[in-house]
Each structure stands twice: as C-alpha cells, then as structure tokens.
C-alpha cells in the first residue's frame, strides 16, 4: 500500500517583533527535517527574536520537539530568543510531559510573543 504522506506547509514573514515562521501540518520523524531546514535559514540571520507559530500544527512528536530544542539553543548562542506561539492542547501536552514547557518561552499569540 502506498502512502504518500503530506509534508508541512511553512511560511515566514517579518513582523515588528522579529521574523515569524508559521508551520502547518503534523511534525514527526518524516517532516521535522523540513521544519528544521526552514528554521535554520531564519536562525542563520541571527534575529533578536524568532517567533515560531504552531497554531496550525495538529500533531508533534519528540522529533519535532527535539528540533525546536536545537533551534532554541542556536538562536540563544547568538544572543536571540525563540518564542513559540499558538500551541494546540495536543501539542502542548507533549511539551508538558517532557517538562519542556518550562524550557521554552511560550506565548498565546504573536502579539504576546513580541512583548516577551
């Protein structure tokens, strides 16, 4: 049985508070490299604040969470800050069970994220 699983949809924009990367879809072992590549491109510009909008991410496993840990470390090494926004309950719970909700800056929405 063939199953061509869909990839992620990723877009980025520059807002007043910094670049915003919007991810849509399900983040798992297959799709997390796509998210990683997109975030690395933006993180490479050493932004003061990188906002990752996960409002349209319906599922994330440890592959996705691990990728975000890596990007957060990278952004912080150049003096920046990574902020996650719009976590759906199902995604947020993965951060909670791994206790990474304490490690990440998590904002309700992009407006809140720009004030962190």
């Amino acid at each position: 049985m063939q199953n061509p699983a869909k990839g992620l949809r990723i877009s980025s924009a520059v807002r007043e508070g910094g670049p915003v990367v919007r991810v849509s879809g399900e983040v798992d072992l297959r799709t997390s490299p796509q998210m990683r590549d997109a975030l690395l491109r933006v993180a490479g510009k050493t932004p003061k604040r990188l906002i990752v909008d996960l409002s349209d991410v319906s599922y994330m496993d440890s592959s996705g969470v691990g990728t975000l840990v890596e990007i957060k470390r990278l952004v912080e090494r150049s003096g920046g800050r990574l902020v996650l926004v719009g976590l759906q309950p199902r995604v947020r719970s993965v951060f909670e069970v791994t206790q990474l909700d304490r490690f990440f800056d998590i904002a309700k929405d992009i407006n809140d994220a720009t004030h962190l």
Partner: protein
C-alpha cells in the same frame, strides 16, 4: 504497509521502516482505539506511544534504513488487567533495555525524549529479545490506569486555534 489482520479485537500491520508511513499508522491506531471504546484522550496517548516507539526503531535500530520490517500488533487484553496491548517487533540488533532508559529531563537537548514519552503514555513497557533476533517491545495501557500517573490532557482530534494556552 500491509494490514495482516484487522479482526474484531486485533490490528496487525506489517510496516516498512519508512517515516512516510507514520501518519497512516497514527490514523489507523487512533481509529482502532476509538472503535474499541477508548476515549479521545486515551486514544491520543496510545497513538503517540506507538508513533514514538516506531520512530525509535527507525532511528536507533535501523539507523534510518528504509528497507526493513516492523510488525505492529494492537489487541484488547483482559489479563493482567483489561486494556490494550501493543507489540512492536523489529528485526535488527537487540536493544539492551539498560540503554533504552531515555535521558534525564533536566538534561535539555535534542533527542532522547521518545522513551520518556512512551513511559508517560503507557502503564507497562517492556523490551525483550525477540525469538529469532531483534527486539519485541510490549506496551500496555489499562482501562483503569494507575491514579498515581500524572494526567496529561491530550486530544485525539486536533483543535483549530485553541485559546487554551
């Protein structure tokens, strides 16, 4: 991916070690769980545990080689307690359970979270050598889960733009 069996209380899948199939497996396991009277939240936990376990096999046992087999069995059990039993069998080198402990959560770095998530989602997790080689992972979730287990809310169906942040 081929369904070996989908009898009343049994789901059997023969999977390639290919991450492209994870999405389909998640849908199948979640649907099976819902059909077997698990709540949406419980079904989501079962699904996440299966996803993480398969991910670990693909990554750590098969080193992302796509041309290997993984056998997944999901079935209702009555013993030792009513619930669901999930068996995942791979054909790689046996993984020593001592090396599958996952990392301490205080040690924040990418990777090493899958085992922790599996143990948090399920009530029983056991790795054993499979007859003929490879590893057999047995996970169980009981209808009456231990009250001491921290309850984490997980929804089976994603919500759009929830305000519950």
């Amino acid at each position: 991916m081929s369904a070996l069996s989908q009898r009343k209380n049994l789901l059997e899948l023969d999977l390639p070690s290919d991450p492209r199939f994870l999405c389909k497996v998640r849908r199948t396991v979640c649907d099976w769980s819902l059909q077997h009277r698990w709540t949406a939240q419980q079904a989501a936990k079962i699904t996440l545990a299966v996803d993480e376990a398969i991910t670990n096999i693909i990554r750590h046992v098969y080193k992302c080689d796509l041309n290997n087999r993984i056998l997944l069995t999901v079935r209702e059990v009555e013993e030792p307690s009513p619930g669901v039993e999930i068996r995942l069998r791979d054909f790689g080198q046996f993984c020593d359970p001592e090396q599958i402990q996952g990392r301490a959560l205080e040690d924040v770095r990418p990777g090493g979270l899958g085992v922790h998530i599996i143990r948090a989602m399920m009530d029983f997790v056991e790795y054993a050598p499979a007859p003929g080689g490879g590893t057999l992972l047995v996970m169980r979730k009981f209808r009456a889960s231990k009250a001491a287990k921290p309850e984490v809310a997980i929804d089976a169906e994603p919500r759009k733009r929830s305000a519950n942040q």
